[in-house]
Amino acid sequence: MKFRGKIIDIACLNHFSRVVTTIAKLTKTCVLRLTPDNLFFVLSGKVANGGVSMWCELSQGNFFDEYQMEGVSSEDNEICLELSPENLSRALKTVQNAKSVKVKLTKKHCPCVTVSAELPTLSSVSRVVTHDVPVEVIPRRLWHELKEPSVPDFHVSIYLPPLKTMKNVVDRMKNLSNFLVVEANLNGEMNLKIETDLVSVTTHFKDLGNPPWGGGSEGGADPEGMAEARVDIRRLQQFLMGQQVTPTKAMCNIVHQRILHLVVLHDDASLQYFIPAVA
């Protein structure tokens, strides 16, 4: 197993660091899966993390100037590492102005992803910083848990309003309730609702638009009919808080009373986040 990548372009570095920070806001630990073309940050939906799962895909060519990897074997040319995205994010943040950053898999006191950066100085010799982020190598027999989740057979798919706006609404609602109902229809309408014994609050969004998924689910369905999912408000808040830049597209798919599937697309990265509905 070998992995080394190098980032020289400062914009790529900032972008990579933003992506990792977003992931860090979503989960304490996750799996970094490396393939010859892509990097994935994966969280599989286990009960321990509230049934939430995450799939973030980055194309290595858009971030790394050099990228070499050798997987476990030639058939399984992949590496799966469990790590704390917070640690990685912190390491990347402190080297934001670096001339170059190398990210590699190393064997130190334990397996590590080593982020080493060459920092600019006033003198002719540059400063070198290395951060050894401990990781755990995931054996191949557990890889099946890390498959890309299939897009669920949703009832409604809708574009999200600006995430900042949504965050403001959800932040307020969090003070009132622990659960929030997201409901949407195929007519571009979405409501965020909370209901408690004392108060019911609904925020209505309209004209959001529904992404065309090429036939499929909407065949003959009532465009006004609402699909809804009641979710833990903290999960949704976490997701909204973590978004660092305005994405190209942000949408949400709802499987009625089962799953809220949030999708954020950037030019060179995509993030899917699944929040299970609660009764």
């Binding site: 704390s84 390491a91 006191h109 003198s123 400063r127 070198v128 910083v129 290395t130 951060h131």
Partner: protein, 384 residues
């Protein structure tokens, strides 16, 4: 004592209070003819800081009551938590506060902080103090073989790589290289910790003198206050240090103020193993001698033997001689018996931390050849 500060000086004074608040829970005010000194020491006596503002720093500075012999000996100890809130909002303090007056009258037991603010508002805080011997560290920087001087910015950039939760860092210096890494105690988190190392070329320092290679480990938290103070005033910071176990001194100097932070350093495991029996030996003479280590005259009141007992408990772990604490002999201190010079184990030697030693040992041991330590602590090494 009576002094007046205006505008930006209030802010600088406030920043000093903030830096001192990182050190200890008490604040000593010591007005002398050299100016007003603010001091603090932490409960484990492993960190000490002093800010001395010269009379020029103030709009007005006077030590009144020169007639009495005890003049200038108003030594008071305030609770940090009652002073800190007065300087809470530093970003706007120079705009909101036009003038600040600090006065201590001989007759009362209060320090009066009076803020004359905009719109004719006057805020008066009177903070009760405890009369107390002055706290003073005497650190002879000439004795230190290694001296570094750098803009505060450089040190700030160095420590920025460490998380705020980082307790201790190790500074390694050789004539060719300076490196900084996090020092990690043993324990369950050891595998979860991010190890950070940064290396610099000596050229980056304004002044660089390393006579002895050294590896010193000290607390980062207590240092951050001074660094941010120095950074906000764009002042260079000078480091004086020697071998592991000897204190390290960070100092900042300006025309009108001087600031010093002295931190105890962890004794190096190599020293510990190479001369385990010798370690306790030099401690006693050094405690008496005010010459080559830090002495912090104080009225902590612990008798000397108490300190020595503590040293013998842990002779292998810490260099017990550093820094020493003693009562200062100032003008009026002729009455202070010399025997009240006390010695204190400064680094992490307080009782509440005793429990930590077993967990710390594995890391100390990891650089050594002491098999016993390793087995005892269950540390696994790939080579074993």
């Amino acid at each position: 004592m009576n002094c007046t500060l205006e505008g930006l000086s209030v802010k600088a004074f406030g920043r000093a209070i903030h830096a001192l608040a990182r050190i200890g829970d008490d604040l000593w005010l010591d007005p002398t003819d050299k100016g007003l000194a603010l001091r603090s020491v932490n409960s484990a006596h492993s960190a000490y800081a002093c800010f001395l503002f010269s009379p020029l720093f103030f709009q007005h500075f006077s030590l009144n009551a020169p007639s009495q012999q005890c003049s200038g000996s108003i030594k008071c100890k305030l609770l940090m938590k009652s002073v800190l809130p007065l300087f809470r909002c530093l970003t706007s303090i120079d705009r909101s506060v036009e003038r600040c007056q600090i006065s201590i009258s001989d007759s009362s037991d209060r320090v009066i902080f009076q803020f004359l603010c905009r719109h004719g508002i006057t805020k008066t805080h009177s903070v009760r103090f405890q009369e107390c011997e002055a706290l003073q560290a005497v650190f002879s920087s000439q004795q230190c073989p290694n001296v570094l001087k750098s803009p505060a910015r450089l040190l700030g950039d160095m420590v920025m790589h460490f998380p705020l939760s980082q307790e201790e860092i190790t500074l390694s210096t050789t004539p060719l290289r300076v490196s900084l890494r996090n020092y990690n105690e043993g324990g369950n988190d050891r595998l979860k910790m991010v190890y950070t190392n940064m290396a610099l070329h000596p050229d980056e320092f304004d002044f660089f003198q390393v006579r002895d290679d050294s590896d010193i480990t000290f607390c980062l938290k207590e240092l951050r206050g001074l660094l941010s103070f120095a950074e906000s005033h764009c002042l260079p910071v000078t480091l004086h240090f020697g071998a592991a176990g000897k204190p390290v001194c960070f100092s900042v100097e300006d025309v009108v103020l001087e600031a010093t932070v002295i931190l105890a350093t962890l004794i190096n495991s190599d020293n510990r193993n190479s001369q385990p029996t010798e370690t306790p030996a030099p401690t006693t003479p050094r405690c008496d001698g005010v010459d080559d280590t830090v002495t912090i005259p104080s009225s902590q009141g612990s008798p000397m033997n108490q300190g020595c007992e503590a040293m013998q408990l842990l002779p292998h772990i810490y260099n017990a001689n550093d820094p020493c604490v003693s009562d200062e002999a100032d003008a009026s201190a002729a009455t202070t018996p010399a025997s009240s010079v006390i010695c204190s184990l400064l680094f992490r030697a307080s009782e509440q931390n005793d429990d930590c030693f077993p967990t710390k040992l594995p890391v100390l041991a990891s650089y050594s050849d002491d098999d016993e330590d390793m087995e005892e602590n269950g540390v696994e090494f790939p080579s074993l």
